[in-house]
């Protein structure tokens, strides 16, 4: 009686390649200015080609919004760098100020992204409170470090609760909650993989971790090779661990997320090993094609994730409503973009 409405990605690697290479070319020849529009086109392509229950997603931000946001962020960073050079006390004050406003930017970024995304003509929204985010960013991680990271899964659950429970489709809210057990299982799986890597380094290669930016007068080839291999093994182990963690936690979170009073459900059937295989083979193909196969790799990953996601409707999908919201401020968005910071939401 339960029907699964599978997510479907209808884009193709060929088509995305054309958009991607034009984005790339225009971004370079405009010295990066076009990259704001390129970002919009990329998001539009992937959103518009992702369907669930026959209806697609869409992305509505404009290149101009993104560009203004980025320009302000770059200006702020430049002011900081210049004051660090010529007026160090001001730089110290600025650094504290930037760290203090970071959660403000993050909330704005989440809201900007949500309000500029839609499904079936209804915009998403994000209504997270700032105070809670300060706790999430500055307090919980510190508490977790004080317990030697043994309580890290609690922090992760709090982040997911905050991220998902504050998202809306129109006026309809998402709801997520879960026991802590599965978060510990995923965490232990990830830690286990890293430990295997460390054991490999310690046992087989003799382990030492190198530090950057030092200049030895003479390079001892054997030592350098060992350092290189140790570094590589640890790096790969950490990357593997993160992929496996993402897969496990995604399945769990989808299963425990409900939408609205109807309690529409979600299913994710991603397999950790399949995801790992796709990530590793993508890496190899992209490296050997000098990056030209990157569009193919991106589409392949997107298609796999879509095929393994489904909506389980419980009643009509025609009843979602929302205002037509406009969010004109992309500063938060640009900040998280440039700094590469994301609240890791498995959408």
């Amino acid at each position: 009686m339960e029907t699964h409405e599978k997510f479907e990605f209808r884009g193709s690697a060929r088509e995305w390649f054309g958009i991607w290479i034009v984005n790339l070319l225009l971004s370079i020849v405009t010295l990066g200015v076009y990259s704001a529009w390129a970002k919009v086109r990329s998001k539009k392509y992937f959103y518009q080609n992702t369907f669930v229950a026959g209806r697609n997603f869409d992305y509505h931000a404009t290149g101009q919004q993104i560009l203004i946001g980025r320009a302000i962020v770059v200006a702020a960073l430049l002011v900081f760098a210049l004051s660090a050079q010529f007026l160090p006390p001001l730089a110290a004050a600025l650094l504290i100020a930037y760290v203090a406003v970071f959660p403000v930017l993050l909330v704005r970024s989440l809201r900007f992204d949500a309000r500029n995304s839609s499904w079936s003509n209804v915009r998403f929204d994000f209504v997270g409170k700032l105070g809670q985010l300060y706790l999430l960013i500055f307090v919980y991680p510190v508490l977790s470090i004080l317990t030697l990271y043994t309580t890290w899964p609690f922090v992760q659950r709090a982040i997911q609760r905050y991220g998902i429970n504050n998202h809306r489709l129109g006026t309809t809210s998402f709801h997520f909650d879960s026991k802590i057990g599965p978060f510990y299982m995923a965490f232990l799986a990830a830690v286990g993989i890293v430990l295997v890597g460390v054991a490999l380094v310690a046992g087989v290669i003799f382990g030492q971790i190198t530090s950057t930016a030092n200049e030895a007068l003479f390079a001892n080839p054997i030592l350098l090779l060992n350092l290189f291999l140790s570094y590589l093994v640890i790096l790969l182990a950490a990357a593997f661990a993160s992929v496996v963690y993402q897969a496990i936690i995604r399945n769990h979170i989808f299963a425990h997320t409900k939408l609205g009073e109807n309690k529409h459900g979600f299913v994710s059937t991603v397999k950790p090993l399949s995801l790992l295989w796709i990530a590793v083979s993508n890496l190899i193909v992209v490296l050997f094609s000098l990056g030209l196969m990157l569009p193919w790799a991106t589409v392949r990953m997107q298609r796999y994730l879509a095929e393994n996601s489904a909506l389980v409707p419980n009643g009509s999908l025609d009843d979602f409503t929302g205002d037509v919201l406009t969010e004109t401020n992309a500063i938060g968005d640009a900040y998280s973009d440039i700094e590469g910071i994301e609240l890791e939401l498995p959408v």
């Binding site: 007068l217 979602f320 037509v324």
Partner: protein, 342 residues
Amino acid sequence: MSAHDPSISGWAFRPGSSERISARLDVSADWIFLTDPDDGLLLTKSAPLDVRLDQAAGAGPRNVYFADGWMFQTEDHQISILMQEPLPSRLLRHFEIFRLRLAAFIFLSLLSAFAAWSLAVPALVTVAVWLTPHAALSQIDKASIKSLDLTVFEESDLSADKQKDQKRVLKQLMLSVDANRPFTLIFREMPGMGANAAALPGGTIIVSDELVTRYGDDPTVIAGVLAHEMGHVVEQHGLKQLYRALTVYALITLVAGDVGPILENVLLEGQTLASLSYSRKHELSADRFAVDLLYKSGFSPEGLQRLFKDVEETDGENSWFATHPSSAERLKQIKEMADHRK
């Protein structure tokens, strides 16, 4: 526009509603109509200037927005002609289509990527180095020493007198360096690294116990080694390598977009590894700096030459690991410089 324009079928959505209604779009001279195809009832109408066709990426469905918030979606790409989509947005999509001419774009992209690589990256690195405050440099030094002490280094066994002798050599060299940052010399036992020395961006020079036990009584050799390391610091080689790695990563992610899991880590961390092979040029440059400095402070470069000869004899040709130029290559350069002075 005539009344005989074909109508386009698709779906309509009420303002802000997720309900999908089957609908038909018709265009007349003054109005664009949205009607229910079953009973012909009018859903909405707007003047053509108030109706907006979205900018689509790729061949997916197209959206049309009416003035009062109604949305019409269709898979029929005739909509672009019917709505008289402006040339720039049509042109962009036209060029994005996968055809042979994309090969030209690939070529142009690779060419401009190469230009960015050889012009933009060094320029950005130079700016970043210039903007880095001294306080940050000494922080890098402190953190690096801490992590090296934790992993590879052990405490020095050298006597205080021996250490003082080497520091005196450094002081003499510093008199001739036109740099306003202070250099500090520290000693460590470096197991497995032989007679060795390293410089950190903030001006900390670390030498191994073995270097001092083997050459400590010969100030010309020590002066050569220290002058070389000072060259790295003054010319900011370590910092440049670090920034180069970060800049390349930032440019790739900005221009090529999200690269996906694992590859992202490899790009960021792997860059740091790759930057090791970039230091060939830096070594030769530090050698040149050293020879100049040695002359200025009254030392002979002969000590540095003697050291490289020693290394060549004990280690042989190790240039297969391309981090460092071979000792022979460096020796040749120093000899040429010395001959030039005569």
